[in-house]
Amino acid sequence: MSSTAPQLRSRLPRIAEAAVQRARLTVVPRPRTRPRAPRVPFVTLVSVILLGGVVGLLLFNTSMQQASFRAAALDQQLADLTAQEEALSTELQELSDPARVADRAQKAGMVIAGPPNVMNLGTGEVTGDAQAAPPAQPSNTLPVTVPGPTKPKVLDPDPVIVRDRGDDRSNDANGRQDGGSDRSRQR
């Protein structure tokens, strides 16, 4: 700003005069103001928005919490129903175990089929050498169960048979059953 410096110095006396002039106090005329808009509605509006926001947030949060509890409850219900479904499908599978089906079939008197005849649906021709299945005999009946595991003697001891004492035998006539059941209860 080197160029303005000399000018400032030359104008200084005039500026000082003006300042002196200004320094005389005068009554400032009252500025004309526009009629102010009433403040109450604005404040009310802002308060309502603020309050609405806060209450809305609170309600939103609460409903989220509610939903979260509900989600937890539904999760639990899902787990329960899944477990139930699993239990039922396991039961179904146990019922469809071939060994069980075979056992039921044999008990119902069913036997394994003999050779079938085959009909060609196009020509109506029947081929094959069908024979009636022979009646059930031990030789053609399927064993349904597998022989159980053979346990070592230590794990599968012979049953211990305790014979009644001689004096008990004399009681046989007058109610053996009562005496027997009493003894077994004591054991």
Binding site: Q93, P115, P116
Partner: protein, 589 residues
């Protein structure tokens, strides 16, 4: 107005400002240092502490895949289970009442539970493990309702085998899960496909309040990757039938053990593979450990005369013989180290090649095989798949024993021609014979439908099954016709293996048996029968092996079992009889 004189004790405003700023800077420096400490030096520890406050970590368990049969029936499946655990510091007071409650509801031993509920100095005692989730939840809820405290539950998946012993030899089983809930595979496919079935556990971490997840709270979820289902080629019903027929056969002939396999001739899919004796996969602890395997794959034996089928089909394929070719078969054939006999005493017989097979003449087979060039029989047998693992997907498979190099002497060559001095496993053998049923093309046998990855990374299954031409179509057809003569009521040795209404080709085998205890022939026999049907359009190949049968050889013991299995399979899959006449190839001349 005069300005008040400056208080001499008060420093200049600038000085006071400087002091103030220095103080603020010092405080901020402390904050900054703390920030660096928190974020730079050990951020993880603090982050973990912050996260642990009010947040929970949950393992999202991966569901183990099911093992299914070809129709989608589950042979092994996982259900959600719980372990019920007691805290003895809480349960000791009313232990007797709680023990009686638990023993009634869970079917467990009263005294054992009582003891566990009273253990001193422990806060974790198993009450019951692998209880189905529904039952466990109910029992614990009821216990709480009755005022008992100190019971809690943890995840403990249950593996169930709904069909018990059906295919147990193949499926295997899982032991009690490890402490972290992961599976402990102990045998069978459960073991060899453990990784494929297991899946990968996921993890979830979220903030909780009052037992429910806090919405908008921090949460991170790594979803679990469930294990894949393993679909097998087995047919559960056919497998059951096969196991029981084999059981009947083994028990009926007072034999030691047996194997039965049924294979789809066209695809190489194993429909049934039975071992007897076997075990029950749902109660494995009750059975001897030696049964936790499939001896059809793990055990070798000498195939005996059933192997003649392979030798003679190779003779025909190599152009060294024809079904009607005539041979003079002496009663005894003196070879290098010892004489070769037939299973029946005879003088000089005039047999055709078909007759040699139908009557199962060792001497005739050796004479026919004499035409081979050195090494030719071995390369045929290798092409049939002997001496190599079948890779169906079970661990511990044997590759059999096919001598090579120096070990393949002339004497060995003679004996191998009729099925001794070499060892096979049952699946190898059925796959080899199946090549004849399948027009001379050998298909790799498969147990897995589609494709699945073994724990060692190899993929197996029907999609991976390769094919290889071993003999010509014509040689396969002629061999099949010769095999039909084996079941002829007059000329053959195994009329009992025939299936009424169907044309069946087959071959008996009665081999001397090598026993492990002395590694020698102990005089016992392995009776077997292999065959396929219908001869002119084969659908199934079946193989029955009975070790140490006491009531007869292949035709008498294994033949009837073969007939039952073949008849059932043909009926079950609705195969119509072919209505053509069986071969009448001459057996003598």
């Amino acid at each position: 107005m005069t300005r008040p004189a400056r208080d001499p004790l008060r420093a200049s405003p600038q000085f006071r400002l400087q002091v103030g700023f220095i103080l603020i800077a010092m405080v901020l420096s402390v904050f900054a240092a703390r920030l660096v400490q928190l974020q730079g030096v050990d951020p993880d520890e603090y982050a973990a502490m912050a996260a642990a406050e009010g947040s929970v970590d949950v393992i999202l368990p991966a569901t183990r895949g099911e093992i299914l049969d070809r129709n989608g029936k589950a042979l092994a499946k996982s259900i959600d289970g719980r372990m019920i655990v007691a805290d003895p510091t809480l349960t000791a007071d009313d232990a007797p009442e709680l023990a009686s409650f638990l023993s009634q509801r869970l079917d467990i031993d009263y005294f054992e539970v009582l003891e566990r509920l009273r253990v001193e100095g422990s806060r974790f005692q198993y009450v019951a493990r692998q209880v189905p989730a529904r039952l466990a939840t109910q029992v614990v809820a009821d216990a709480e309702a009755e005022g008992f405290v100190g019971l809690f539950m943890q995840r403990d998946p249950v593996r169930v085998y709904p069909f018990n012993d059906v295919a147990a030899n193949l499926v295997g089983f899982l032991g009690t899960p490890k402490r972290n809930g992961s599976a402990r595979a102990l045998a069978g496919l459960e073991d060899s496909f453990n990784d494929y079935l297991s899946g990968i556990d996921g993890e979830a971490r979220y903030e909780v309040g009052a037992g429910a997840q806090i919405p908008l709270g921090d949460s991170a979820i790594t979803p679990a990757v469930d294990g894949s289902d393993l679909a097998l080629t087995l047919d559960a019903d056919l497998q059951f039938y096969t196991q029981r027929v084999l059981q009947q056969t083994v028990e009926g002939s007072r034999a030691e053990s047996g194997i039965a396999v049924i294979m789809d001739s066209r695809t190489g899919e194993i429909l049934a593979l039975a071992d007897y004796p076997s075990y029950d996969a749902s109660t494995p602890q009750d059975w001897p450990k030696s049964r936790y395997k499939s001896s059809a794959l793990t055990d070798v034996y000498e195939p005996g005369s059933t192997e003649k089928v392979l030798t003679l089909s190779a003779v025909i394929d190599a152009g060294l013989g024809k079904p009607r070719q005539q041979y003079v078969v002496p009663g005894v054939l003196n070879r290098q180290d010892r004489p070769i006999h037939d299973h029946w005493a005879h003088g000089i017989e005039h047999l055709t090649l078909a007759g040699i097979l139908a009557k199962s003449s060792n001497i005739g087979t050796v004479l026919a095989a004499d035409e081979f060039e050195p090494g030719q029989l071995r390369s045929y047998l290798t092409a049939f798949g002997l001496g190599r693992q079948t890779h169906v997907g079970l661990n511990g498979e044997t590759k059999g024993l096919l001598p090579k190099g120096e070990a393949w002497t002339d004497q060995v060559d003679d004996r191998i021609a009729f099925g001794q001095s070499l060892s096979v496993n049952a699946v190898q053998m059925i796959a080899a014979v199946n090549a004849i049923a399948n027009d001379g093309v050998r298909i790799d046998p498969s147990l897995v439908k589609g494709r699945a990855t073994l724990d060692d990374g190899t993929e197996v299954g029907t999609d991976e099954a390769g094919t290889r031409r071993v003999i010509s179509t014509e040689a396969a057809r002629q061999t099949a016709l010769m095999m039909e003569r084996v079941l002829d009521p007059v000329d053959g040795v195994a009329p009992l293996a025939s299936v009424p209404g169907y044309r069946i080709a087959g071959k008996t085998g009665t081999a001397q048996r090598v026993v492990e205890s002395c590694a020698c022939y102990d005089g016992s026999h392995t009776a077997s029968f292999v065959g396929f049907g219908p001869t002119d359009d084969p659908r199934f190949t079946a193989y029955v092996v009975v070790h140490d049968s006491r009531t007869g050889g292949g035709g008498a013991v294994a033949g009837p079992a073969f007939a039952k299995l073949m008849s059932y399979a043909l009926r079950r899959y609705g195969v119509a009889p072919t209505e053509t006449r069986p071969s009448k190839l001459p057996v003598e001349w």
